[in-house]
């Protein structure tokens, strides 16, 4: 951080990293946002974007740091969360909402009251003596130059390569790129220049969380390809003590209340909750812990279960989402069935949201614990199922992602069935000819297809459709109809890599005037050397055609780079061509920013338009010839321009594959609001689905550039291997079960279960519903639909939940 924008000189100018600490409950003021000069709550806060990024001045980075737009929006949302009356102003250049759900996230921040996004370069004015407030000078088209005072200024700083990058590169003998990040080999974004050394995460370049996660998994998969012969040689099976049957014993409950450092203890009076817990029925032991999840505390829980003869355990701490598996393990270590564990969430549901109401929060913690104790009395021991794993994988979609994933799995010793709906492998890449950095895509594709066909363990089905997919993790059965006829494939894992389609524009005279084409069509024509295109005098490109609008509320991520790529190619062939790119925000995140700059330097003209004032395209007859005329408002010049073009290329949106709904239905996975496949967790589980054993990669998940698709394909392969390398997989014990005596065969459960986990079986007492526990996902809809109470979601039974409802009221 240089002394830009008064940082280091003015107290109330902080970096986004400093601010992140202020927001954090373990930060300097325990989550209170206090400004440095007087430790008071800032009311008016400004963020300045692109600090140190997207600049060619010495000491700055020429690339875009790719994460700052969205992290700033997050900080704004959190700030408004802390203080609903806060005024937040963001001075920005382009808003780079290129990631999945980023556009919606941006809108969410922008729509908050008191939040202003202002597109302007800024400079710091002065620090005001008495208040230590800071002024910012900025300019808008409406008001011209203004100077405004803020209580606090946050500089959204970008990402640098690691401090010791040169030393690191020397030690490992790997090369770096011109920005000081790791240099990848052209065909494999996860491989360094030295064979056998791989790279993942932000050392590749500025990277968001999901990319970091799947590149890590992908690098793991590539290590697996090299080390597969050693797999499992160093693993040791964990041995648990035999499980004691305590189901007939009176409940003996132990309650452990966690301070979570200061997260809970700062708000809730933990000692008084412990005291209270001891007054509850069946509670024989209670204590506090600083961090229940720390390994010494977990061990303590195990020891106390044994020592005190506990048969049920409650940890009052955080959300069960992350740590429930760990605490269940502490019961197993003590020889108690893990389903006797219950978690009371007194952090997310309590201390974090009631930090200002300490007494009430303590009372609420007691209420939550009391409800957990009530439920714990009704808990039942459940057994998890060990399912055998079929070691074969099925990959749906034979594009670059599908093929890359299939090869990586096959290289680790597994048979792979690769199913492609078209006659040829290749998918969208068949229409792409060169990359931004000038590489030949078709040559790469030919080589990849050849590797796939030559691999003895990859079985390719083209012209194929999937007619049926049944089964569950480790044991799927999928029917494929192809030239080979109908075949039933048994497999343990499935990868959805069906790619995406391109929007067919209905706007800007597309389909009416043959000079109007899409960016992909432009690329095809350039690569064929189409005279009409390469000798054009004037060519216009319009960005965001069919997306970032009401119909498709997302950014297609790749189109800005594609347009720049085409523009640079055309300038290379015909330097005299006038090229205009009409855009909303240039989404050249990361290193592609350099190509944006290069295009600009080569006189490609970038004109920003507003979505409420879109370009107008018409054909005009002048002097007996028909011209294509594009009218657009130039906000910098402040006037309407009319550009006559020989060709108009539309950056048509990437849209979900036409087959997405069908495939989602077959494999029982879900789609997000834009109909791209919905991963299990957008940040932390980017290649998994909520349905076990089904994985995701490529454009089926979201539009992405080829290197990103390749990385994600390796990432999915890595996750597939963690499943297929085991002989068995565990299915949850919290599934539904039918009491046959109570079942009247009404079928309400069957129509509720779209997983098809329930079926009728004929018995002497008529047809009765039966649940297949390995297909059941434990949503419990059937339980709520059943009129006779015959079907029960184990671990969330009526008795368990009603006991909690009864306990909610307390002693009032």
């Amino acid at each position: 951080m240089k002394g830009d924008y008064g940082y280091g000189k003015m107290q109330n100018v902080v970096t986004s990293m400093d601010y992140e600490r202020l927001l954090c409950s373990t930060g300097p003021y325990e989550g209170e946002i206090l400004r440095p000069s007087d430790k008071k709550h800032p009311h008016k806060t400004a963020w300045i974007q692109c600090v140190g990024s997207r600049r060619v001045t010495p000491g700055d980075n020429s690339y875009c740091s790719a994460v700052c737009c969205t992290y700033t929006q997050k900080q704004v949302i959190l700030t408004k969360d802390h203080d609903a009356g806060a005024e937040c102003t963001i001075f920005h250049n382009d808003i780079r909402s290129y990631g999945k759900d980023f556009e919606r996230f941006y809108q969410r921040a922008e729509n908050l009251p008191g939040v202003r996004f202002i597109r302007s370069y800024v400079s710091i004015g002065k620090e005001i003596q008495e208040s230590k407030n800071v002024t910012i000078r900025y300019a808008t088209t409406e008001d011209g130059v203004k100077e405004e005072e803020f209580d606090l200024v946050v500089l959204s700083v970008g990402l640098n390569p690691p401090a010791d990058y040169e030393d690191l590169a020397d030690k490992f003998g790997i090369e770096l790129n011109s920005h000081g990040f790791c240099k990848a080999i052209p065909s494999n974004p996860l491989s360094t220049t030295r064979p056998g050394i791989f790279v993942s995460g932000a050392f590749q370049g500025p990277t968001d969380i999901p990319e970091s996660v799947f590149t890590a998994s992908g690098a793991g998969s590539q290590c697996g390809e090299l080390l597969d012969y050693r797999r499992g040689k160093l693993t040791q099976e964990r041995i648990y003590p035999p499980e004691k049957d305590v189901s007939r014993e009176e409940p003996r409950i132990g309650v452990f209340v966690c301070h979570c450092g200061a997260n809970i203890g700062r708000v809730v009076s933990v000692p008084s909750t412990v005291e209270y817990a001891l007054t509850l029925p069946h509670v024989v032991y209670a204590q506090e812990q600083l961090f229940s999840c720390a390994s010494n505390c977990a061990k303590e829980i195990t020891d106390i279960i044994k020592e005190k003869g506990l048969n049920r355990v409650i940890v009052a701490a955080c959300s069960p989402r992350t740590l429930e598996p760990l605490f269940r393990d502490t019961l197993r270590e003590a020889g108690i069935n893990q389903y006797y564990f219950e978690m009371a969430n007194i952090r997310e549901h309590n201390s974090w949201v009631h930090s200002k109401e300490k007494e009430e929060a303590t009372q609420k913690a007691k209420d939550i614990i009391r409800m957990s104790v009530a439920r714990a009395c009704h808990l039942e021991p459940l057994q998890e199922l060990d399912l055998p794993v079929n070691k074969t994988a099925l990959v749906v979609g034979g594009g670059v992602s599908g093929m890359t994933c299939a090869l990586s799995i096959a290289n680790q010793g597994h048979e792979v069935f690769l199913v492609e709906k078209n006659k040829d492998l290749g998918g969208m890449a068949r229409r792409i000819h060169y990359t931004l950095d000038g590489r030949d895509v078709q040559a790469y594709l030919r080589d990849l297809v050849e590797k796939v066909y030559r691999h003895p363990s990859v079985h390719v089905y083209t012209d194929a459709t999937i007619t049926e997919a049944t089964g569950y993790v480790g044991n799927f059965v999928t029917k494929v109809n192809s030239e080979r006829g109908v075949e039933e494939i048994k497999h343990g894992a499935a990868v959805i890599a069906i790619g995406a389609d391109i929007y067919k524009p209905t706007e800007y005279l597309y389909g009416e005037d043959d000079r109007v084409i899409t960016h992909l069509e432009l690329e095809e024509r350039i690569s064929k050397g189409d005279e009409k295109i390469i000798s054009a005098e004037s060519l216009v490109m319009i960005q965001c055609v069919g997306c970032r609008n009401e119909d498709r509320n997302y950014c297609s991520r790749i189109c800005c780079s594609v347009s720049i790529k085409n523009a640079l190619k055309l300038k290379e062939i015909n330097p005299l061509m006038d090229i205009y790119i009409l855009y909303r925000d240039m989404m050249t995140y990361g290193f592609s920013e350099d190509y944006y700059r290069e295009a600009s330097n080569r006189e490609v003209k970038f004109i920003r338009y507003d979505p409420l004032d879109k370009p107008l395209v018409e054909t005009v007859k002048e002097g007996g010839t028909s011209r294509l005329r594009i009218a657009v408002t130039d906000y910098i010049l402040g006037k309407k321009l009319a550009i006559d073009a020989d060709c108009l290329a539309l950056a048509a949106a990437v849209i979900p594959s036409a087959g997405a709904k069908e495939v989602a239905g077959l494999f029982k996975v879900s789609l997000g609001p834009d109909d791209f496949f919905k991963e299990a967790h957008v940040k932390l589980k980017p290649v998994e689905f909520a349905a076990d054993g089904v994985y995701l990669c490529g454009m089926a998940q979201y539009p992405k550039h080829m290197p990103e698709a390749i990385s994600q394909a390796y990432g999915a392969a890595g996750r597939v291997l963690t499943l297929l390398s085991h002989d068995t997989v565990i299915a949850s014990g919290s599934v539904c079960e039918v009491d046959q005596k109570k079942c009247t065969g009404c079928g309400a459960c069957i129509s509720a279960c779209t997983y098809d986990a329930i079926e009728f079986r004929e018995t002497r007492q008529g047809k009765k519903a039966v649940v297949n526990p390995v297909i059941c996902k434990g949503d419990g809809l059937c339980n709520a639909r059943c009129p006779t109470g015959a079907i029960t979601l184990k671990h969330f039974t009526d008795a368990e939940l009603l006991s909690q409802i009864d306990a909610a009221l307390g002693d009032v």
Binding site: A748, C753, D779, N783
Partner: protein
């Protein structure tokens, strides 16, 4: 567990316990973590629940459902604050509606006892998936719910026709039918959940199970008169 797991009986239990309001949070509609879209089931249940509250004489605004994602903490807080305010405004359950506490409790419990019956007769609507707000409003009407309770069906075994074949008795999911071999079967109206299994099970040639609506169920046959004397046996005896 899905929001669709929230049973009508849970909601009624909370009100029966004297809770002043019940809030259910579900995932955003059309964005299911499973593939079942159970949040629509929860929505339907709440829409029905609101009409039931009205039927009882309670303010339907005491029951509320909202849909949001795990990332929408602020929305959740806003909604809960708003609901809290609303419930405070409505005041203690029953008091502001002018219903006596004990009377209210017994009214709710009476309705709660009919939960299985409600699930059966409203099954189709409870599983439906509505597309817009206008449809929500029309899904259940007050008139419909009033009629449901007015015309509640009871099942009764006609002692004249019962052949004590044990078919209904074996099939009853809640063991509400007393009887045995050569003992006329009698439905315990307290235990009966009105699922109609006995009605469907009784062989058409006997036609002993009747539905009764709008009038009281005849009293059960005294224990002493329940033995069937078969004609063949009578013959044998004479």
């Amino acid at each position: 567990m899905c929001s669709g797991r929230v049973d009508l009986s849970f909601v009624l239990r909370a009100f029966s316990n004297g809770m002043d309001g019940v809030f259910i949070g579900g995932c955003r509609l059309k964005e299911c973590n499973y593939i079942t879209h159970g949040n629509y089931h929860a929505l339907n249940m709440v829409l029905l629940g609101k009409k039931i509250l009205e039927h009882i004489g309670l303010n339907p605004e005491r029951l509320r459902i909202e849909f949001m994602s795990g990332g929408e903490g602020i929305l959740f807080a806003d909604v809960i604050n708003d609901f809290g305010r609303k419930v405070k405004e409505l005041g203690p359950l029953g008091k502001s509606e002018g219903i006596d506490k004990n009377e209210l409790k017994s009214k709710i419990q009476e309705v709660a006892k009919l939960t299985p019956y409600i699930k059966i007769v409203k099954r189709e609507k409870l599983e439906s998936r509505l597309e817009n707000k206008a449809e929500y409003d029309g899904l259940f009407t007050r008139e419909e719910v009033d009629r449901l309770f007015r015309e509640v069906i009871s099942y009764h075994i006609d002692p004249e026709k019962c052949q004590a074949c044990m078919i209904c008795l074996k099939k009853c999911p809640v063991e509400a039918i007393a009887g045995g071999k050569n003992r006329i079967h009698v439905i315990d109206q307290e235990k009966c959940i009105k699922c109609g299994t006995c009605f469907d099970a009784c062989p058409p040639r006997f036609g002993a199970v009747k539905t009764i609506s709008g009038e009281p169920v005849p009293p059960p046959l005294p224990e002493a008169e329940r033995t069937i004397i078969r004609k063949s046996k009578e013959k044998g005896a004479s």
